[in-house]
Symmetry: C2
Subunit: 646 residues, 2 copies
Amino acid sequence: MLDQKRVVIEKVTPQLDGGVHFVKRVVDEHVNVTADVFSDGHDLVACSVLFKHEKARKWEEVRMHPTHNDSWEASFQVSEQGFYEYKVEGWVDYALNWQHGTDRKIADGQHVTSELLEGAEYLKALKKKATDTEKRYLNVVIGYFTNEKDYEKAIKEATSDKLHDLFVKYPERFLANESQPLQVYVDRLKARFSTWYEFFPRSASKEEGKHGTFKDCEALLPRVAKMGFDTLYFPPIHPIGEVNRKGKNNSTEAQDGDVGSPWGIGSKEGGHTSIHRELGSEKDFKSLVNKAKELGIEVAMDFALQAAPDHPWVKEHPEWFKWRPDGTVQYAENPPKKYQDILPIYFESKDWKNLWKEMLNAALYWVEEFGIRVFRVDNPHTKPYFFWGWLMAEVKKKYPDVLFLSEAFTRPKVMQQLAKQGYTQSYTYFTWRNTKAELIEYVEELTKTDQREYFRPNFWPNTPDINPWALQGGNEAVHLQKYFLAATLSSNTGLYGPVFEYMVSEAVPGKEEYWDSEKYQLRHWDWNKENKLTTLITRINEARKAHESLQQTNNIKFLSIENENLIAYYKYNDDRTDETLLIVNLDPYYAQQGWVQVPLQDLGISEGHQMQVHDVITGSSYVWDKEWCFVELHPTLPFHLFKISK
Amino acid sequence: MLDQKRVVIEKVTPQLDGGVHFVKRVVDEHVNVTADVFSDGHDLVACSVLFKHEKARKWEEVRMHPTHNDSWEASFQVSEQGFYEYKVEGWVDYALNWQHGTDRKIADGQHVTSELLEGAEYLKALKKKATDTEKRYLNVVIGYFTNEKDYEKAIKEATSDKLHDLFVKYPERFLANESQPLQVYVDRLKARFSTWYEFFPRSASKEEGKHGTFKDCEALLPRVAKMGFDTLYFPPIHPIGEVNRKGKNNSTEAQDGDVGSPWGIGSKEGGHTSIHRELGSEKDFKSLVNKAKELGIEVAMDFALQAAPDHPWVKEHPEWFKWRPDGTVQYAENPPKKYQDILPIYFESKDWKNLWKEMLNAALYWVEEFGIRVFRVDNPHTKPYFFWGWLMAEVKKKYPDVLFLSEAFTRPKVMQQLAKQGYTQSYTYFTWRNTKAELIEYVEELTKTDQREYFRPNFWPNTPDINPWALQGGNEAVHLQKYFLAATLSSNTGLYGPVFEYMVSEAVPGKEEYWDSEKYQLRHWDWNKENKLTTLITRINEARKAHESLQQTNNIKFLSIENENLIAYYKYNDDRTDETLLIVNLDPYYAQQGWVQVPLQDLGISEGHQMQVHDVITGSSYVWDKEWCFVELHPTLPFHLFKISK
């Protein structure tokens, strides 16, 4: 192919899979773009990042600057939700090359009359774009360049910064080349900074043995707000299937009065757009959502695409389920296991297009009728990736502020792919990372590889599905460590509440499952009880709100500390106006001591210079003036959260 | 976008810049393809690499096998010159999933009548593709599957390898997905394995002071062949410009009788498709090329796209050069330097399309009229990249066996880009890599990063343009080391001959340039003189021909050896039927001793097992039976080239 262009543009970053997938930011963040840009020969190249919001007509431009080895860099800020496009444009800047070459010839003592005549041609081209004032200046300079008698004035102007700036301001992009456009999706801040709380609304009653209601939940909102949570997530609130309903502790035969699993969605009372009657009415739910909003809490709904055998879809759309040659319906299974309370959606259905649209409508119903803006999606990895890509794009087209949390605990590439398809946040392996080495390796994978561009972790110490070994029978110190790590390593964090706060960790023997799990039965909690855990969780959440450095996940640096039971890290906000230094004792039984290496270079201070570290949890302050500082942490309060003041 | 597919295919390798550029192989090599391939849910996926030569109609297929973490792998062999395409196809294999699930249910003691009925459907689909024999078998099995009385036979067949193999043989690619096609260019073997020799034909005369001719060169062919070189490269053989001709030692004023630089191409006698008359006629050149061929030597021509001021193009196509406003022509320059014997080609010319075509014609002239198949391209980095991409593609379309060596000694990304545009081989920084650390770092960059896929290094210890510091005044040991390293680290190597063999390293003071360089004057050599260097160069080249491991660049592993002056490496051919172990003393003055770690695991032998190492240079043999073995090398013969026999 004949192509006269001279500039090569390669390795534009951030870029995922050759531009197939988009990267992510939140409003007001920057996208730092790098690229290899170079031409043949000795000529100077110039390049820009061009960017625009999907709804804007014109591209905005920011000039790139060289870093090293033919790499260039520039960053732009995203100010609106939705998609932005960005690309790199590069060109040989003939005018700047002329000035650069002429400058060197003059310095070498050469006579440059011929070069000045060339320069006059560049100035004439400039004039077409210049302001009136600039035009007057250019006319004067052209006069100098073309009259030998003005030679001294000419060479002064030829090498002037003023002319240089005009060349930069109005580049002649002859034979310019550009990279393919890439995309970044911009979410609201909550995509990056959120604090989730989960409880079962049916366990919200004050009265033991009574089915909780949305009204009971309303009464608990002040408690949730006081503890500093901003997102209240409920397991599914839809009618629970009655056919093949599960009993207590996941038994396949339910007894009379067993309430079933909220994830067994759908009965004669309705399906994914209905509410389980024992919880209350649509009006009650709307009231709850609005009251929560007044307290700064968003209600997050569960979006679980599966059906109980008595879900209305089964009769209305039998083609959305798989039927076997013997006329029976296909239950969910992972051979040899079968799950007879659940029918999977048959995505290979011939009626798949209507099926997809109905799923979208089910999500939009809660968005449009109840103002829901946050979904926790159940087992997204058992539905097609491109289905999610489509569904989330459709929702965000109309409601760019809707957030989706991916509940996939599975293989790395599967979890990553869901994030690439558009999930705002993702559950993680944090729940099983216990040692210092495990924690550092995992957080560095999330924050120092290209996952930082699209996979936003949400760290949970536990969920109703996971009662991790480390918490089973774990003491108060373990619980304190786990929540502190979750809430300070990651800017998105969540807690499956009462069992954690009250250290209820009884498990099905040999499994990471809760005994008497709320998934299958009502539980009763004394919601008024405060203890050290509720107090410290509250303080930690307060610190997260007060410190922008804790609202960032990627801005982290692990620090050397010479003790395998102590982990230390430095966090900062983008402009480094907020900096914190965190140290955790990972040993639940013994006090640990060590010397931590303060990141003086990052902090911009030299050794010997004093700085104050203020523990925002305890209120204690220390003055440090060394690079290596001594710390000791006891399991009774196994962490420091130091705000650094210089 | 609605897309029902379920399989994700990502990170297909080898892949350069998202498929913009092609990778390279030589005939009979393999392309090992890897990809991440996975689906949602628990279903098994299957995938294949599809590949075809550009001229083939049908895709060939090779099934991939899983390696780890959702990565898959398969390799295919390329047997013809030219482009191949390859891509990955993946699908959920419903039939295999059915067999896998049914197998587990049977093992679990479940009754699988319903599953067998499902299975019958898969078998009916199979029948459409099966051979008659297979059809008969399938009919029997369908009978079993659909009759409860044959249940025992049915479950035996359901889980049989025979059925499994049929499912694998005839996959139902329902909702299959595929990656975008990628390209590999396949060269002849010489692209990977070549041994170049360079001399100036005008210095070929036996008689001192007399201009050498092609006939003189013919007389030297047996010497070149005997020394084991397979490619004889000449600086440009075109008429040399007379206007502004350069004098001895690059002086700007030529004296009467000065022969000028062969790179100052073109005079009233002709340009890029003419021959410098003092060298001989077209017929003489043709004779030389053919005689060389008989001796197993290809003549490589210089392709230097620039013109002396009196090149015929300047008059015939003034628009192919840049004219300044004062009416003078633009000389080559790198301000403040000017090169008044050279006019650069003006690629920004309005007549660029004709210009490009004429350049192509100039190359094709030598290919078609003289059978030239190897070009060394002068300063390709000062001409547009896409020009080269186009020109080389056009040449190879008709003559896929033409090879291009890129003579660019410049910034890394520039050199890499030329290789990406299609250069077969590239000059390298080897010339300036002296220490063990420098050599290892550089060779690992070339062979362990993606450069291995497209950048084929050609290691030269010197060129007429580069008289490197390390060789200036260097003793015999340095020369031996440098050629040995060049010729054994890289499978492509070259030598600017007589000055190296006779250790003529006088330099322009403070520069890496030869004094009395042949670039500007005739030199006279006693071509009959044999010495230790000519002898050992010959032996090294013999070893390269005898040992396939030395015909590979990428198949290298550096070995631990506890002495900074000793470098050791293990080389192998693709099927490891030839394995060599090489050790070099980098110190030109002192003997060095050290313990080298033999790569027992790569060799597939255990410690204590004896192996014989046979030095193919000296003929000595040793028996080694330890992992760490002692070596001592003296500067008089500073290397071992061990053939390993187990």
